[in-house]
Symmetry: C2
Subunit: 327 residues, 2 copies
């Protein structure tokens, strides 16, 4: 099949860029030094490619991602790096399951759900989940007293992922990880799980990095000058041409918009509507012409699509279901 035969909007990943990103990360963080985060792509076929690179332990954000990864035979070591109160679907999985806990309530839910292993989730500066570092040791003691195995700590420095001054970023990450190391000293265990695509090369404390976006990338991460290539684009068809602007059939329901508009090479994007992008091209385009959009945020973009098409130029090599969507 050729790209021309795809219905639009269609998610494309360029095979050579994907291979480059997979190989670059496997060299930088081999084997269990990386625990790829599947929330970025929600696609077990792509997770299998990561496993082939030696990354066989995965990070998930939802119970559905955990279920899908286990069902796909990728359950060697799955971390649900998120707090969960409704644990009843997790115990049945054919997988090694570890969940993050940050409170007595989530610890109790883990016990009630038959979970056996946990990480203590520590707040390292991002105002989201995680207990204060100084409370991590006591929570680990309570977890062990409740019969759970505490594998270590996790702490996501998400507020430091997209910082263009990399020296400032490295200092921020070092400070955040000093907090995590302090908590780890109280908690014990062999795992310090942290980091992401923006900090994979400056986080010196984590025993494993939870990066996900590196494999597909987006315009926000691309601005950082990392060695990963923008592999993901959305193919669209020009449907209307006016004097000052043109319109293609890719809009708010095909793009994560929280980081702003997508980019189009050789054009200025004016705005997106539900099923349209209005843009001003430098050179005229014609109805029926295909264009590519570069999303600003990869994760919520993938979550809108049913399939990810792996392409080599004009050729469609494979079409992978985005099978971990929903909850």
């Amino acid at each position: 099949m050729r790209i021309h035969d795809l219905q639009t909007p269609a998610l494309l990943v360029e095979a050579s860029d994907l291979d480059h990103n997979l190989a670059t990360m496997a060299e930088a963080l081999p084997g269990p030094r990386l625990r790829p985060h599947v929330k970025a792509h929600k696609c077990t076929a792509l997770a299998r490619r990561q496993a082939t690179q030696g990354h066989r332990h995965f990070t998930c954000a939802t119970v559905r991602e955990m279920e899908g990864m286990a069902a796909a035979g990728l359950g060697e070591d799955l971390l649900l790096a998120n707090e969960v109160l409704d644990t009843k679907r997790l115990a049945a999985l054919d997988a090694r399951v570890t969940v993050a806990v940050d409170s007595q309530a989530t610890l109790g839910a883990a016990v009630a759900g038959g979970i056996r292993e946990v990480l203590i989730d520590v707040n390292v500066g991002l105002p989201r989940c995680g207990c204060p570092p100084e409370q991590a040791g006591a929570l680990a003691d309570r977890a062990r007293a409740a019969g759970l195995r505490v594998r270590g700590v996790m702490g996501y420095e998400g507020h430091l992922m997209i910082v263009e001054d990399r020296q400032k970023q490295a200092q921020g990450v070092a400070d955040a990880m000093a907090e995590l190391a302090r908590a780890h000293a109280d908690v014990g265990g062999e795992v310090i799980s942290a980091g992401g695509t923006g900090s994979y090369d400056v986080n010196r404390v984590a025993t494993e990095i939870q990066a996900g976006s590196y494999v597909l990338m987006d315009t926000a991460y691309d601005a950082l000058g990392l060695p990963f290539r923008k592999a993901l684009s959305v193919l669209a068809t020009v449907i209307s041409v006016s004097e000052a602007h043109s319109v293609a059939d890719c809009g708010l329901k095909a793009l994560g918009m929280d980081h702003g508009n997508p980019r189009i090479e050789g054009a200025r994007v004016w705005f997106c509507s539900d099923e349209h992008v209005t843009f001003a091209p430098e050179a005229p385009v014609q109805p029926g012409e295909r264009i590519r959009l570069w999303p600003a945020h990869v994760d919520p973009t993938l979550a809108y699509h049913e399939r990810l098409h792996v392409v080599d130029g004009e050729q469609v090599l494979e079409s992978w279901p985005i099978d971990l969507r929903g909850w």
Copy 2:
């Protein structure tokens, strides 16, 4: 089933608010005076409720919406209010199919796809699809010469939907509709299709209004003081509580974000991540507690979810598949 038994995040529509919105619109614009836009909800079960109110002619934005509506037996009169080059799936539908055309290319695609009826799409000020008003007559002549039946015109005044000063808005809509009326004089036909939830009561020219959001509403439309109630919310579970903020399990993949953050009553929303909302509640919340979020934009919110649960307080009455997603 009770709300407590739903997995979160879950889309809820309050039955009494839904009924109020349906009845209010049916009274204001009875029968074919409203052509409900299904893009807002992408749900044939909800479209069937609109049909029961007397609105049996529908507006769609995608070929998939057209297919799903026809398959659900709701194809009495379907308008694809969008330009489409790939028409081959439309001719096979068991439905009366009308498509918008704004160029020789889309007119040619309609003929090639075996479409029989069209509306001439006219640009009335929103920089998106539509031909200039003064070119509409010539395009209609070419359409008729090609064997198409031209039912009339459409022109969406989308730039005037969310204007808080309703007097200013009414003047803007009147000006835009004067353009559409001018085009209609050249085009002929019995249909002048235009409008939306924001202009349903001030658009005096359209023979049919294409409103969709009225039935569920969102915080952006709610600010206008229209007689429709916010019927749609997202149920979430509090998963983490810290000193200054709390976190619930509803984020960027459960909410259309192009109009900004959702609202939570009695709380200030700080930010959303992929699967989290971080908020500062006025009164403390506990892990496991359920909260409701009010999305800022209804259409791209629905497109993330598989089901819409119709509730009466704590009771879940029905769960409708959101079956028109994708393309």
